[in-house]
Amino acid sequence: MSFYQSALDIAAESRDAPDSIPARTSAILSALDGLGRRLSATRFLDEDFSLSQAETQATETDRSAPLFGVPLAHKELYGRLTPAGPWPDEGGSSSCEGQTAHQTAFAISQLDKAGSIDCGRLVSVEYALGVTGHNEFAGTPKNPWNPDYICGGSSSGSGSVVAAGIVPGALGSDTGGSIRLPAAACGLVGIKPTYGVVSRSGVFPLSHSLDTVGPLSRSVADGAAILQAITGFDATDSCSLEVPAEDYSRNLDKGVADLSIGLCEDYFLTGSDTDMADMTADSFALCQTLGAKGRAVKLSNIDIINPLNVLMIATEAAQIHRTVACDKGHMLNDQTLMRILAGAFTTAEDYHVLQQSRARAIAAVMEEVFDKVDILMTPVWPFALPTIEASDVGATPDAAPLMQRIGHNTRPVNFLGLPSVCLPTGWDKNGLPVSVQLIGKPYSETTLLQAAAALEREYRFWDRTPDLDKI
């Protein structure tokens, strides 16, 4: 088996030679058990189940499923029921040790229908409540590009395993940047869909209003194919919306000449270190060279959105997890506990104002930005990636400001409910990947993927692979 095959290539190969599916699945399970564990990224494997899925696919006469025979592994927040019993559903926390899934997540069922093989679960930050990737209980995943550095969080295991080429894609979840931060840290494509596009049913919750689920992948085309598979209305998720079906891959070859792209100097560039801002400006200039119309845009009140998103997450996390926090607080990481408790003081009036503020901010960004441009381009990480050691701040007074700063460019997107795609464009001063974020108006995933594919062809980041001998 060769690492770093794309999902679409694997699907094509599986259609030509379905007998290859069990062998490939077996090799990937071995890699997840070996390299995946050395990266502290693999959380749970069920060889019997994964191989039985592979055997079933190998005998399938209809091979038209879009992800036919494609092995994927996902963040540990995704529930799975199997004939032999449910998979663990511990939310990356010792406080939930022994807890099992009560349903197969909607997105996982969708991937089953699309022909994918489920190869297990990957480490998440405890309760998905952290942006650095640290997890004292489940392990802190290492970045394959340099194992001294973080993968970002909270979908840290997903970032690590996909960057190591073991699987071509993995689902993550994103409440303040938890798909995009690890995707960017690991040199991957990360997709955070629009509010309501992908159901969260069966996914360990953090914030009902802000949780979104989406893929991390090595290429834009793979990300589009996985996103395509997991979308669909689900009446069991009250935020799910009936959105017209469309082909997210249909414009991947179209280029950016018909698009207008905005750059918001205030907040996104001024709030990021100079090298991150400069690299984003370079990507903006590249889009113009490729024919896109470039335009400077301004966003009023953007500076309060990040802290309001932090408060929304804390408030809803406290609503969901307060009993555990009070009864088993000693089993939670200090930082998780502090962030949940910070939401436990929010009053009903505060929460009402928070929801109203969110709606006003969404209406404002539509008028100020998306009446003028198709896409807003920003950095993802506001500064060069830190090491695992340097970013291990626990619950010290330094923690809250660091968490807010890391999510500076990503959290506003969750608060605004907008879709966003990030993709790698270069390297920071320490040789770790740097990415840009493309933000669009609601339901503009096809347009964002169109622009991302155009940039991907220029940067050809996926031609490069980390040196895994160091791991």
Binding site: T194, Y195, G196, H208, S209, S238, C239, L241, E242, V243, P244, E246, I304, P307, L308, V310, L311, A314, A318, Q319, R322, C326, D327, G329, H330, D334, L337, M338, R339, L341, A342, G343, A344, F345, T346, T347, A348, D350, Y351, V353, L354, Q355, Q356, S357, R358, A359, R360, I362, A363, A395, P397, A400, G417, K441, P442, Y443
Partner: protein, 70 residues
Amino acid sequence: MTDKIFIPPLEMAVLAETGIPDSQIELARATSDELRGILSTQKKKPSGPSVHELFSGYAKQHGMKLEISE
């Protein structure tokens, strides 16, 4: 979420009985105060449609655009 019942804030006395160290409770309280202080600037502003209503509307508009483009 419109279908979730809001649970009132925790009383300090209740928290004190949980065994969570005072220093952690104080840090969480200070973080909450800071964030709710920022939120207080948003009070008494006019309200409009909810987030879900906004996105339902955007979804309909998007569907109409897709139909036209086809």
